[in-house]
Symmetry: C2
Subunit: 314 residues, 2 copies
């Protein structure tokens, strides 16, 4: 469930382009106009705007935005305007080069198999390499052993569940975790190849048969970054809104804000499941997410985020 709101009566694309072009004219930039248009158009509509804008004004809309905007607001608008697969390819490439394993994992595990494939295609087109090559190149040891199969997989995406398999693989997982063989091939094979529905069944069996949630059993050393990654993969695959709530919570809480994480989650989920993430956020923090944004951000950046999460009028 998305938080993105698109007006019932959509103006013609040419009109959107004109208004955007006008917003860039003269001395100041009309950020309000940019938000009122782009933050209320879905991926297909934004793509059409970008195409028409380029045809009409001979410049890529992203380039115009890049010239006119700055800092966190700029990044949010640029990332949002991109097509989701293109955006993910860019985010993944940046994360791979900056060794932000969690972002790579997030993209690999929270997108649908089909959407992840589209990201891989965009990655080929833009970087002339495969995403798995780059992940393999920038990671080592256990991180590589886990991340490469996770980004590479093309999981089955149907609802069918094999209960016998769930029982036997829950047993394998428990056995490996008991032996502290967290980087075991079988364990990684199960987590990186099984469908999300199947994994969900397996983790439920694990809980039922062995009395603990698998994530809990993987929390033996809270400072072990590999275990953290493994727990995140499990969370991301089977309960994405809970995973994203935590990313947002950590981005907002304490002194300072992690704008990169905040922007990433809002722009990548606004058209997907942001409504459930916002609900989960409230459930967990007893603070409405809109209010949390207002407390931690300001100006156009704040307005952009609020527009994307459907809270601009609160």
């Amino acid at each position: 469930m998305a938080t993105l709101s698109v007006p019932d009566q959509l103006p013609p694309v040419a009109e959107d382009c004109d208004r955007l072009h006008n917003a860039f004219q003269g001395w100041g930039t009309d950020e309000g106009a940019i938000i009122s248009i782009l933050a209320h158009r879905n991926a297909k509509q934004r793509s059409l705007i970008r195409q028409t804008y380029a045809e009409t004004y001979g410049e890529d809309l992203l380039k115009s935005l890049d010239k006119e905007l700055s800092s966190d607001f700029e990044r949010a608008v640029l990332l949002w305007t991109l097509h989701p697969a293109e955006r993910d390819a860019l985010l993944a490439n940046e994360a791979i080069r900056k060794l932000k394993h969690f972002v790579v994992l997030e993209i690999a595990c929270s997108r649908t198999p089909r959407d992840l494939f589209l990201v891989k295609e965009e990655y080929h087109a833009r970087f002339k390499r495969s995403i798995e090559e780059d992940v393999a190149q920038y990671t080592t040891g256990d991180f590589r052993r886990l991340l490469v199969p996770l980004v590479t997989a093309y999981r089955y995406d149907g609802p069918e569940v094999n209960a016998t398999l769930a029982t036997s693989e829950a047993r394998i997982l428990h056995e490996k975790i008991t032996e502290k063989a967290y980087n075991d091939e079988e364990l990684i094979r199960i987590i990186s190849t099984r469908s999300k529905a199947q994994l969900n069944a397996t983790f439920n069996h694990y809980n039922d048969q062995f009395g603990n949630a698998i994530s809990k059993d993987l929390k033996t050393d809270p400072n072990d970054n590999y275990l953290k990654l493994l727990r995140s993969a499990i969370k991301c695959l089977t309960w994405p809104e809970k995973y994203f709530e935590k990313v947002l919570r950590l981005a907002i809480k304490g002194l300072g804000t992690d704008e990169e994480a905040l922007t990433r989650v809002v722009v990548t989920r606004a058209e997907v499941d942001m409504k459930r993430i916002v609900e989960e956020y409230y459930r967990r923090n007893s603070v409405p997410f809109g209010q949390a944004i207002k407390g931690d951000t300001s100006g156009d950046y704040e307005s952009m985020l609020l527009a994307l999460v459907g809270k601009e009028s609160d």
Copy 2:
């Protein structure tokens, strides 16, 4: 370069369907008619025939063929009639279950990345599981360590080559091979993620820097099945017509014929690169491939193969 020949003046699809339907009527079956139609239609045309046939006669053409034909001829016609991605999904599933690792490897390494992806989609649709899940389930040890990444990869498919990388990765490969670490993670990572163009450059550097072709250095123990698989992967990725020539040579030579391999190579390559495979066959065996087929097969099966390799009139 395909060997498939399609007539310049194609009859209407409805006429092909009528002729096929007539070929199934009465006492005998008109195998000649079946060959003259199906063995001279490309994938798109066959698919259209199948669709129109089902609409006209209320039965899947494959089912009609299945009822009328038998043994090697039947298998060749059925496999050929299928859409390539569907055919590969079926072949892969059969090979996985029968532990024919070489066939799995062949499909993973000789198809274009895009075609391999289409196979994975067909596999999902038909078997409600991913191909990598099944490969992982039916293999163990080193075989699994190599085959799972090979079937999973979505390689970059462009012509760009990074020479620095080719040099450094040739060095890594040589190091691991010298240490007899044939199942090493780095070695498998390189072979399973790099683009075919990049791998080709790497193997050339290997040859230039270390004086031997990599395949030769991997031939320390001719009876080691894992090493055989590794060499086949290298051959299949960088020189598929040579790989397929060998499969055909082994299928034909000696007493008896391996019809399964013969059929598989002919039906899967007739629309792709069979012309080059046939040339390579002649270069290596000094016997024209058409003649070899005539020597080892007979009847309708022989006619079908000859039609597909463009040698029916020889």
